[in-house]
Amino acid sequence: MDIRTTFARARRGFRDDLRLHVVAVASLVVAFLCLGAALLGVENLARVAERWTQSQHMTVYLGTDASESDIAQLRLVLDSLTEVAEVEYINSARARAQFAEQTEMGADVGSLPAEAFPASLELALHASANRTRITKIGERIKSFNAVEDVETYQDWFGQLGSLLDAGRKAVGILALLVAVCVVAVIGNTIRLAVANRRQEIEVLKLCGATDRFVRTPFIVEGILQGLTASVLSLVLLGISYLSLRGQVEDTVVTLTGMQVVFLGPLTVLGVVCGGGLVGALGSALSLRRYLSV
């Protein structure tokens, strides 16, 4: 079959059932927009999580009675650990100053007791350090006399991790729902298109068209619907991203230390190709049921 003819016939189909196709694409855009937004959220969350795991750290709070030599000995031990990249001593005064700076409490910090700001060793860990190892190190360090408490932040990472997992699952389910929705909408559109074109299908058959010839433009229409809807929704998402970014950027940067980014090229490609594929599937399923050529 001539490829130009196929597209000409699909175009003819779009022309003849224009309203039908516009309504279908519009509702699919909404579905893809939801998916795109969810993907955007999860991709950014994943970036934050990745960055934080790469900049893992641990805080070793020292007791008020810790002597200089205790601290020196502790530092020696810590330096010998392969997981530890860097050790920084922060005394009580600096802790108070840092807190005042971060919270903008200013002079009021002076009213808080000294115990609120224990001296600490801030450990920067190598990205390769895994969670169980970090927990183990934390426990070991805790047994030192000079050490009051150890914060490994592992709970927090655990929470972030499970949040990310939940987000990924949600996106997976959403993607599935969107796929089902696309199959249903396109399937329905093609069913109506088949009904509308009963007459021309009869003509085609009488002129010696094979089943494949009759079906092809419907499949092309399904694919084009899926592609159009996914591309349109990504364009809309991109526009909203660009216009909203300025407003939320500051907040997000302070919260996460990172900027919001748009969907990566692979995700974009995936959404568009997925749209086309699911469109073809919806059309094919519908033809199997409703086109008895």
């Binding site: 130009r4 003819t5 003849d16 021309e200 003509v203 002129c207 068209a209 010839f213």
Partner: protein
């Protein structure tokens, strides 16, 4: 009935059979060749007890023009429908281009139809398509490249008297013009056999003569035509071979029968 191909390949009519240009043209210099269409002892039952067609035998040679007539309900449409495999014979054989139409598999039917041009009483054009699209469709089915389709459609529209009207919406055309579009669609692929089932049935008498004339021109250019009609006026204007279907039987009309049928017509008119 078992649907087995004569050659057992499962293919039946394939591209290679068809559309050698001029396949349907007769060559007067050649000795008598095999008939294009042969029906042997064909029976078709729509009801158990009474066959719609019985013991039908017919031979159509390349380049012939055959009228098929008979009262309403006689089975004219059925006869044609058996040829283009809308229906299948209950017994007997229909050989077209040397193959048994009755034994074609479903998959081969499109390839049979590509060798036929079919014109109907109700035109069967797609009303919201343009004239061009309606004519081009039969060639698009063959997979002809767009360039070829364009030039051939223009040529064909000229043949049927619709030159330059390709861009008009078909539903805006008059009945006679729509039938010309349908005829153009049927002949654009230069089929071996042109079947017409009451093509003038929906047209007024003057237009009917015009359309018949058009079929005769197409026939003169070499196409074999089977033309079913119960319009006696048409039968009388043209001295073509005439076949009458009566109570399911096919009768080759002699001159006497022709005169008889004319007299019946004048009595009833």
């Amino acid at each position: 009935m078992a649907r087995v191909n004569l050659d057992g390949s499962g293919a039946g009519f394939r591209r290679t059979d068809s559309h050698v240009r001029g396949l349907g043209r007769s060559n007067p210099n050649q000795p008598a060749e095999k008939p294009l269409l042969v029906m042997e002892d064909v029976y078709k039952y729509f009801r158990r007890d009474v066959p719609t067609l019985r013991n039908v035998a017919l031979e159509v040679k390349r380049g012939e023009f055959v009228f098929v007539t008979g009262p309403s309900g006689a089975g004219k449409s059925t006869l044609l429908q058996l040829i283009y495999r809308k229906h299948t014979v209950d017994s007997g054989r229909i050989l077209f281009l040397g193959r048994d139409v009755a034994r074609l598999t479903e998959r081969s039917i499109p390839f049979l139809r590509r060798n036929l041009g079919i014109v109907f009483q109700d035109f069967k054009v797609v009303p919201h398509w343009t004239v061009y699209e309606n004519v081009a469709v039969s060639m698009e089915i063959l997979g002809s490249p767009v360039r070829v389709v364009r030039s051939r459609v223009a040529e064909t529209l000229e043949r049927v008297g619709l030159a330059g009207r390709g861009n008009e919406r078909t539903e805006r055309l008059s009945g006679g013009e729509q039938q010309r579009v349908a005829i153009a669609r049927a002949i654009a692929t230069e089929p071996a056999l042109l079947l017409a089932d009451e093509p003038t049935g929906n047209l007024d008498p003057a237009l009917a003569i015009d359309i018949l004339t058009l079929f005769e021109e197409i026939h003169d250019a070499g196409t074999t035509v089977i033309f079913a009609t119960h319009d006696h006026a048409l039968l009388q204007t043209s001295p073509h071979r005439l076949i009458v279907i009566d109570e399911g039987r096919l009768i080759e009309a002699s001159q006497g029968l022709r005169a008889w049928s004319a007299r019946m017509h004048s009595l009833s008119a």
